[in-house]
Amino acid sequence: MLTILFDGIAYGMLLFVLACGLAVTLGLMNFVNLAHGAFAMAGGYITVTLVNRLGVPFLLSLPLAFLASAAIGLVFERTLYVHLYRKPHLDQVLFTIGLVFMAVAALDYVMGSSQVYVQLPEYLRGRFDVFGVGVGRYRLLIIVVCGLLTIALQLILSKTRFGARLRAAVDDERVARGMGINVNRVFALTFAFGSGLAGLGGALGVEMLGLDPTFPLKFMIYFLIVVTVGGTSSITGPFFASLLLGIGDVAGKYYVPTLGAFVIYTIMIVVLLWRPQGLFARSAAR
C-alpha cells in the first residue's frame, strides 16, 4: 500500500517536471502547445545516446539533457512559435500536432521504432526496505531531484526579480508590457527553461515511462491533464494535479488493471465539468 503511494508520488513528481513548462507556456501566452512532449522525448534520447554510446555517467547526462532541450526549445521558440502567439487556437493546435508528427517520424528514422533503455549505474538499481516499505533507489532519486526542482522553482517564482516579472506577465500581459517588462524575452527564457525541464523529465523518465518515438503522442494527454486540472495560474496547482494523477494512475493500474486508463480519463472529464478553469485555479482566472 505504502509502496504504491511511494511509486505514485515518484510518478507524479516526474509528471510535474515534464509538464510544468507547459503550464507556464499556456498561462503566459495562452498558447496551446501539444508538442511539449517532443522536447521531453528529445531529452530522453539525448540521455540514452550519451550514456549508452559515449559512456557518459548517467547523473552527468541529466544536466546535459536539460541544456540541450532548453537550447532546442529556445531555437524553436524564436524561429517558429513566435509567429503563432496571435493566431487562433486552431492554428496553434494544427501547428504543434504537425511538429509532433514530424518529431515522431524523424526519430523513428534516426533511432529506430523500438523502445530504448538506458543503462543505469549499479547504485541506482534495486530497492531497499524502510520500515517494511519497499523503496526503489531510482524512484527515490526521482523524488529527491524533482522535489528539489520544485522547491527551486517555487523560490525563483516567488523571490527573484525574474519570477516577479513572470508572474506579472502571466497575470496581465498588457499591463506588464506597459510597466516596461520585456514580455517577449521573459517568455523566450521561460519557454527554453520549460523545454529544458521537459527534457530533464524525459531523461529521468526513460527508466520509468519507457521511451520510443511515439512518446509525445502517448503522454500528450497526461501533460494536458496536469495543466488543465491544475490550472495555469500557479505552479502549485499543476504540482498537486501531477501528484493526484501519478498516485491515481499507479493505484488504478494496481487495483483495477482491467480498466486501464479509463479511470484517469473519467476523473479528468468530471473535474473539467466541475471546474472548467482547473481544480486549483484562482477564481479570477482569465
Partner: protein
C-alpha cells in the same frame, strides 16, 4: 444588402427570396457532382480508393459542420466515427439488422444520441477544455471497446460482420464497385441534407453564434441550443461515415478511435478549407491522393510529410492556402447569370 433604415420595406417574400438565392446551385457545384458520379464509369479500377475518399469526405463534412460552422475545435471526432462503426458492426455480426441502409440509419441515430449527451460536456469551458474533453471521450470509448473484448473483439477487431446486398439486389463485390456506388450515394444524400440545413435560417444563426456568441444571444439566438443541435447532427454524420466503413470493409477495429484519425481529419478539412461544405470533400480527395503518392515514396514516414504539411499550412496561413478556391468561387458567381440579373 438592405440598410437598417429600409428594414420596414422588407417583406416576407423578400426574406424567402434571400434564402432561395443562398440555396441556389452554382454551375460549378453541378459540375463537381457530375465529375464525382462520372468516376463510376471513368475510373472503374480505382473504386476501392474512391470508396475510402467518399467515406473520408463524409467524415470531414461532419467535422466541418461543427468546426467551420459552429467554431468548436474537436480533437476527438474519431469517437463518433468509431462508435458508429462498432454499432454497425455489432448489428451486422449478431444478425440484428443485416439490411445495410437500415443499419446505417440506426448507427447514425445511436451516434447522434452519444453526440447529444456529450455535447453538454463540450459546451463548457474554453477551447483548451473542449480539446481535452473531446480527446478524453475518444480515449474513453477506445478503452471501453478494448475492455469489453467479448463483445467488441478487443484489439483483434470486430470480425464476421454480415451485410446483406443493398436494396436486396446489389451484393458487395471484391472490386468494391457496389461499395463505391453505395458510399457515393449516401454521401450525396447526406450532402444535400447538410446543404439544406446550412442554408436555412438555422444555418445562418449558427454562423452568427460562431462569429460572436454574446451578440448572437443578444438577438435572442439560443447559443447553447444551436451548439447542441449541430453537435448532435455532426455526431450522426460521423457515425454514419464510420458505419459505412464497417459495412464496406466488413471489419471494425480499435484504430477507428485513434487520435491519428482525428488529427488526419483536421488536416483534410484544413486542406480543403473550413466553413463551406465542399472544403471537406475537396480536402478528402487531395489528402487521399497525396497519401497514396507519398506512401509509395516513403511508406514508413508518411507521418513526417503529414506533419510538415500541417506546419507549412499554418506558417503560410490557412487563408492563403485555401485561397486557391477563391478564383473558382469568383468564377462560379460570374458564371451564375441568374444571380447577376437579380442584382441589376
Amino acid at each position: 444588402m438592405n440598410s437598417p433604415v429600409k428594414t420596414k420595406s422588407v417583406t416576407a417574400s423578400d426574406v424567402s427570396g434571400l434564402f432561395a438565392a443562398r440555396a441556389r446551385w452554382h454551375p460549378l457545384e453541378i459540375i463537381f457532382w457530375l465529375a464525382a458520379f462520372s468516376t463510376i464509369f471513368l475510373l472503374p479500377s480505382k473504386h476501392l480508393i474512391l470508396t475510402e475518399i467518399a467515406i473520408l469526405a463524409l467524415f470531414a463534412l461532419s467535422l466541418d459542420l461543427i468546426l467551420g460552422y459552429a467554431g468548436i475545435i474537436s480533437l476527438g471526432h474519431a469517437a463518433f466515427f468509431g462508435f458508429g462503426a462498432y454499432v454497425a458492426g455489432l448489428l451486422g455480426k449478431n444478425g440484428i439488422i443485416t439490411e445495410p441502409l437500415l443499419a446505417l440509419i440506426v448507427s447514425g441515430l445511436a451516434t447522434s444520441v452519444l453526440g447529444f449527451v456529450t455535447s453538454f460536456l463540450v459546451l463548457r469551458g474554453s477551447d483548451l477544455t473542449r480539446l481535452m474533453v473531446t480527446l478524453g471521450i475518444a480515449l474513453m470509448l477506445r478503452e471501453l471497446a478494448n475492455r469489453y473484448r467479448d463483445i467488441t473483439g478487443g484489439a483483434d477487431g470486430l470480425q464476421g460482420i454480415v451485410v446483406d446486398p443493398v436494396f436486396g439486389m446489389f451484393r458487395f463485390d471484391i472490386f468494391g464497385h457496389t461499395a463505391f456506388y453505395y458510399s457515393l450515394g449516401v454521401l450525396f444524400v447526406l450532402f444535400l441534407i447538410a446543404r439544406r440545413i446550412v442554408n436555412s435560417p438555422f444555418g445562418l444563426s449558427l454562423r452568427a453564434v460562431k462569429a460572436n456568441p454574446l451578440r448572437a444571444s443578444a438577438i435572442s439566438i439560443s447559443v447553447d441550443g444551436r451548439l447542441v443541435a449541430i453537435y448532435t447532427l455532426a455526431a450522426a454524420y460521423a457515425g454514419i461515415a464510420g458505419a459505412l466503413l464497417t459495412q464496406t470493409q466488413a471489419f471494425a477495429s480499435l484504430a477507428y478511435f485513434d487520435f491519428d484519425r482525428s488529427a488526419d481529419l483536421l488536416l483534410v478539412l484544413i486542406i480543403g478549407g473550413t466553413g463551406y461544405l465542399y472544403g471537406g470533400l475537396i480536402g478528402a480527395v487531395v489528402f487521399k491522393v497525396l497519401h497514396d503518392y507519398l506512401s509509395i515514396l516513403t511508406p514508413q514516414y508518411w507521418l513526417f510529410w503529414m506533419g510538415l504539411l500541417l506546419v507549412l499550412i499554418v506558417l503560410v496561413g490557412r487563408e492563403r492556402i485555401t485561397g486557391w478556391t477563391t478564383p473558382l468561387r469568383d468564377l462560379a458567381s460570374r458564371l451564375d447569370w441568374r444571380a447577376r440579373s437579380k442584382k441589376s
